[in-house]
Amino acid sequence: MSGVRVLVGTRKGAFVLTSDGRRGDWTVEGPHFGGWEIYHLTGSPADPNRLYASQSGGWFGQLIQRSDDGGKSWNTVGNDFAYDGDVGEHLWYDGTPRPWEFKRIWHLEPSRDDPDTVYAGAEDAALYLSTDGGAKWTELTALRTHPTGPSWQPGAGGLCLHTIILDPVHQGRIYTAISAAGAFRSDDGGASWLPINKGLRSGEIPDRDAEVGHCVHHITQHPSRPDTLFMQKHWDVMRSDDAGANWREVSGNLPSDFGFPIAVHAHEPETIYVVPIKSDSEHYPPEGKLRVYRSRTGGDEWEPLTRGLPQSDCYVNILRDAMAVDALDPCGIYFGTTGGQVYHSADDGDSWAPIVRDLPPVLSVEVQVLP
């Protein structure tokens, strides 16, 4: 029977949760890199034993860790994330110019077919590529130096590049998302970029329909429908059916359309999941009820999934990279909270149970299905 490995990044280390394919009994390993912030821990689709971790902290900066044996052992690889060429300026929260300054890597996105090729999304926003397993990183400068770059402003979490989608069909197509600049698409492997924010409306910026300036929280895609994208924006759940050229709102009957993660079912490309959060200043679920909402219609019509989740006095948040799905049938869904719980469902979201309850605040959750 196949196994499942859940990779959890937290404020104070990484944890690895494993189970067999029934997903009933779990083993918790960790903390790895105790005391460090693990913004992202993820595996290569091409080699499940190849793992990458973004390890950072206020004292000692940014490191990248790599495992070649499924997390049994780790080695530091390259951490030279230099901005290439003219560093330039973006806007600060108060609208004044401020030079780009590297702070950390938010997200690592390994290639679908080469374990040594991996992309990294940085704060302040930049996209890096390594083709040697993380030893050397090269900035794909066209994104940071996009003509709109000087007008980008940070979201509350910083000017972070947090979403990287490597299109499974269109060779060289990459989607990225930056808070709070918006979504961008490259059709040439990152050599040039197009803002893809048409249809987004954001009340937090002077021009609600501006080309950039939107606080995109997360984007997801089902590999069988590469031109369809689902987005959780600061406010509003959105979808595009033309590779981001146009977006429309699909928040429908959600109790709040603010939130961070969004995920799509592994086998049903019109089934999507979000976790509504009350507001941008109240980062907890409405009414203290932790509810995952599922739409089987690609948005607009949503149903609350509550079985096994706390329905009173729950005031945690679920961050943008902290939800993932596995490829088993029925589909498994996993999410981690800022309260340190990792919940999972082994039945498409109908019921939930905690795998572990008392980790440090969870920053990221990824899942691998093992042979």
Partner: protein
Amino acid sequence: MIRVVLPAHLKTLAHVTGEVKLEVSGQESPVTQRRVLDALEARYPMLLGTIRDRHSGERRAFVRFYACEDDLSNSSPDAPLPERVVAGEEPFIVLGAMAGG
């Protein structure tokens, strides 16, 4: 022989347990903070970027340097280190500040 005390997180990274001992000769030029850190990073390249910026060479904001009961954090990186450090009688201490994580 220069003795260097690393904070726990950096000892873990470098796979060392006790003090680090480095050969930094003071015969031809003074033993300085920069030369000690150069030698440290040469032996333990996984520490590159964790104590000082990889490009500017500046000390990271939440890293401090102590020796002989003095705070050397803001001393010139090219200033000679105290003789007792050079003689191996006192360690050069790298530590994380009481904030920053």
